[in-house]
Amino acid sequence: LTDLTAMTLAEARDGLRARRFSARELTEAHLQAIERAKALNAFVATTPERALEMASASDARLTAGTAGPLEGLPIGIKDLYATEGVHTQACSHILSGFRPTYESSVTANLWRDGAVMLGKLNMDEFAMGSSNETSCYGPVASPWLPPNWSPAQARAAAMSDKRGLLAPGGSSGGSAAAVAARLCLAATATDTGGSIRQPAAFTGTAGIKPTYGRCSRWGMVAFASSLDQAGPLARDVRDCAIMLRSMAGYDAKDSTCVDRPVPDYEAAIGASVKGLTIGMPREYRLEGMNPEIETLWRRGADWLRAAGAKIVDVSLPNTRHALPAYYIVAPAEASSNLARYDGVRYGLREAGADIVALYENTRAKGFGAEVRRRLMIGTYVLSAGYYDAYYVRAQKIRTLIKRDFEIAFANGVDAMLTPATPSAAFAIGEKGSADPVEMYLNDVFTVTVNMAGLPGLVAAAGKSAEGLPLGLQLIGRPFEEETLFSLGHAIEEAAGRAPFPEAWWG
């Protein structure tokens, strides 16, 4: 029997349908892989009994001929999604012991379509971070070996504090690491400023943040409601298309969820990109840019040109304001959303002499340093006297950022091609300890997409000179995810499929 964890989601689906193996065998293989990979710290909770139960039910449906689109496929769920009766903490101490009495709409859609839940995936606390280091469960190790490290050296580091190992990115670091390490066939993730796309780039996986409103946010732990969007992380672009079709769809419980049909995204895989006009936004060429990233970007344009697309120079003049404006809008919304953690209704409670002391002690103990920092910034920019100068101004700048894209699209651009990250993966413990802004700069290419509500996809596009994965980003018109799937697949094909790293972790 071949290694059941080495397939893509599409291959596993086809194998199940052809009855080459059972959903139970497939699930068992992944549960064993998770068990062996504990040192990576990708999963924070596993649900083996539920997984095997779901797999058996899938096998029955496969036999009965009533299989759903994801029947019997084992996947991981980011800890941000509420899963009924199962550990859900957004990797924050303040939600210690929280077991929702309800299921998020996106995960409910996945179970409806037959997927099997393996467990919950590590992430930055409340999705605030770009390296998975703010998790109350500790950092996740990327399965990619740091340059010139031996497997034994990496194993030793993974068993201790993980410093020096590569970060899988964040906030969806557990999702990206688990997919790249073949612990699950695909994973759910979420993206507020780059939390799907940056980890995809760092781990050689594929990820898409769909258009705002494409997926329901109901049952997702809220960070910044006007920016948050659910999406998949998977081994390749096709697998993302398969996942998104099941995740997306109208939900009356989220008033920002859009009521429009969900296309068969997989049909866009392999569709010709001939005649598409691809914009290269000149403002993404930053001063002091890593030459390797610039070369990759140019190579990506060459690949799409060779596939018949037309490459044009475009201008998005407000690009440089996106990241600072994001660090006003996102913390402001977070300070409002996270006001609900009060030590009274759920999660952690730290006693206090009066109700205010109870709140203050609970929140001081329950939130990690990065979350506390952002809540304080958010509180400040919304406070009397500063609201107009900071918050309203940032929302106006958001209008300008979106307008830049609208003008380019109106001029005939079908999608944009940009770098995904300023560099390949950095090491755990390397960034942001002295200055929080150093970490924020990771999202410089991805954050504009959330600010404008657009779909953004990252596909693996090759390796750095040191042998680490690099990704390219495609930005599309609202609700034109299919164009991104076609283009992303074309990039993947041109770059050539690189194997995921050998299991050094156990």
Binding site: A325, D354, M376
Partner: protein, 95 residues
């Protein structure tokens, strides 16, 4: 405009996060680093620009004004750290 330690303490209280005197200076430095980073936005010309309220233009959905759920008290209390007789328990708030 940079914040001083008194402002840091005021913000922390508004955010309902207890901070010690020892933590205030470090937080002040971090908050000022972030504020310094966003300061450049002050120079952007936003005259006549509308503040964004909805990133994807859409009409808010309406529904009949009727009760759609209820009787969920056990579920709502299921994760509360302290409850009594079907209520959340909090320190005394009225003297």
């Amino acid at each position: 405009m940079p914040v001083d330690t008194a402002t840091v303490r005021r913000i922390a209280h508004l955010a309902r996060i207890a901070i010690s005197d020892a933590e205030a200076p470090a937080l002040q430095g971090e908050l000022n680093a972030i504020l310094d980073f966003v300061e450049a936005l002050g120079a952007v010309d936003v005259a006549g620009v509308e503040a964004m309220t909805s990133v994807i233009p859409m009409k808010l959905p309406m529904r009949e004004d009727v009760v759609t759920d209820g009787g969920l008290a056990p579920q709502i209390l299921a994760n509360a750290p302290l409850t009594e007789d079907g209520f959340f328990l909090v320190p005394k708030v009225i003297e």
